[in-house]
């Protein structure tokens, strides 16, 4: 397919340029490690089993954090989007929270929770809750009021109205929020695993920095890029499965 070719074209060109630049000596190894040494670092990590351990440790933290954070964000977003009271109760606080970079919460959270797992999960949960809330709230607000009114007229109220009409209609926004939650959680991992961690892909960044291993630094970037790709693909898949009505929507 043409679009698939176009999609991978630019990354492929960058890869070739990197490989050529390194092997011809135009890119010195202390600026950017050669593909071969990055590959070597990857092999090393795989051989020692560290890569699997790190990925699992991070997946556990990020998964739990995103689950809790996105769940809370979703609930608050729906509540604020549906009811005027909910909006007044929740929205001002969430808008304030949104203005605070979540990394600024690190010192406070450490003093509350110590540097253990709790701190890491809470940090990621908070970082995920905010975008989930924001986009869900917008999505619910933008659901066609006329359709909701009609559904109410046909006897749908409360959770049946929320689950049957409002949340499905807001689903494109909610999935977009999920995309953002996942990528924000990667940032959260780097911040959280800088402190008090002995494994994790965020910890790997810290390690590479401490020992000034450029090959590991580049490897980290590639791992994050790969995870980004996987998340993107996963969300696309969910979009197809969870919104079958959209597959049939031809631009009319």
């Amino acid at each position: 397919m043409l679009s698939a070719g176009v999609r991978i074209g630019v990354p492929l060109l960058l890869l070739i340029a990197w490989w050529y630049g390194s092997s011809s000596g135009r890119i010195p190894p202390d600026v950017l490690a050669a593909p071969s040494s990055v590959l070597g670092a990857l092999r090393e990590l795989i051989a020692t089993g560290q890569l699997t351990d790190y990925l699992l440790a991070s997946a556990h933290r990020a998964g739990l954090g995103v689950l809790v954070g996105a769940g809370i964000g979703l609930l608050l977003g729906v509540a604020a989007g549906i009811s005027a009271l909910g909006e007044e109760l929740v929205d001002p606080t969430m808008q304030m929270m949104r203005a605070v970079p979540f990394l600024a919460l690190v010192p406070l959270f450490i003093s509350w929770f110590g540097v253990g797992e709790t701190f890491k999960i809470v940090l990621i949960a908070v970082s995920a809750a905010i975008p989930m809330y924001t986009y869900t709230y917008l999505g619910v607000r933008n659901v066609d009021r006329k359709v909701v009114e009609a559904a109410r007229g046909f006897g749908l109220r409360g959770h049946r109205l929320a689950l049957g009409v409002i949340i499905p209609s807001a689903l494109p926004n909610i999935l977009m929020a999920m995309r953002i939650c996942l990528s924000v959680s990667l940032t959260g991992l780097i911040a959280a695993e800088q402190i008090g961690a002995t494994e994790g892909i965020g910890y790997l960044v810290t390690l590479a920095q401490q020992y000034f291993r450029i090959d590991y630094m580049v490897l980290c970037i590639l791992i994050y890029a790969g995870l980004g790709l996987i998340f993107d693909g996963a969300i696309r898949l969910v979009e197809r499965l969870a919104m079958p009505w959209r597959r049939h929507v031809v631009a009319r």
């Binding site: 359709v147 009609a150 007229g153 009409v165 009505w245």
Partner: protein, 246 residues
């Protein structure tokens, strides 16, 4: 002003709708100022009126979506609305839209209602794949399956192309003939009103300016002298052409 009275028309009452002294204002703007209206069971009533005179407001009060400021509104219990837009839920299939809010046992009646509007076998389709006319017919089936005593139609044909509109008018006439609900059809189309209704009224400055029974046999020929007379009468009340002097 006295508190409004809102209630249910008794099932064996001959009237499906009974409105008297109905007042409704939005802020400082008075929209309805003393509407009196009675509609018999099975009667097809059409409401004309310039834009912004409160036709939709009257319909919404009948549907229970809006509360009047004063007056009495009695209406039969089963009322349902078809709007200018189909208002289908995009995330639910056609049959689920038709049986929205009904128990699972309504699936078969739902399919039958779809067949009645000419959409046999469309139950599994997504609303986004329907044409405008088809979507509006689904909305009609969604109303029909509830077996309404009062069918409220707010410009249900206005967004359709001319040919589809004629077909839909035909379909609605046929369905109302078969199921005999009391109908309130709000429309801007004088010909449509005269063609379909047993009785036509014009809402103007908050009250019903004319309220005229159309005593012509169906199907009605829009070129017949009496049709033309009716048209002229309503148009004059809408301020479009001067009434012909008799």
């Amino acid at each position: 002003m006295t508190e409004p009275t809102i209630g249910e028309q008794h099932a064996d009452d001959d009237l499906a709708v009974q409105i008297s002294g109905l007042h409704k204002a939005f802020g400082a703007k008075t929209v309805l100022s003393g509407v009196d209206l009675e509609i018999r069971r099975g009667e097809f009533f059409a409401l004309l009126g310039p834009s912004g005179t409160g036709k939709t407001t009257l319909l919404r009060i009948l549907a229970g979506l809006e509360v009047p400021d004063a007056g009495t509104v009695l209406a039969a219990r089963r009322r349902t609305t078809v709007y200018q837009e189909p208002r289908l839920i995009p995330a639910r299939k056609v049959l689920a839209n038709v049986t929205l809010g009904l128990p699972a046992a309504a699936r078969d009646p739902g399919r039958r209602a779809l067949a009645e509007v000419g959409l046999d076998g469309y139950g599994g389709a997504w609303p986004a794949t329907l044409s405008g006319g088809e979507a509006q017919r689904v909305a009609l089936a969604r109303a029909l399956v509830r077996d309404p005593e009062v069918l409220l139609l707010d410009e249900p044909f206005a967004a359709l192309d001319a040919l589809t509109r004629l077909q839909m008018q035909e379909l609605v006439a046929e369905l109302c003939e078969r199921h005999r609900p009391a109908v309130v059809l709000v429309t801007h189309d004088v010909d449509e009103a005269v063609r379909l209704a047993d009785r036509v009224a014009v809402l103007r400055e908050g009250t019903l300016a004319v309220d005229q029974t159309i005593d012509l046999p169906h199907p009605r020929d829009r070129n017949s002298p009496s049709f033309v007379d009716h048209r002229r009468l309503f148009l004059s009340h809408l301020g479009v052409v001067p009434a012909a002097s008799h």
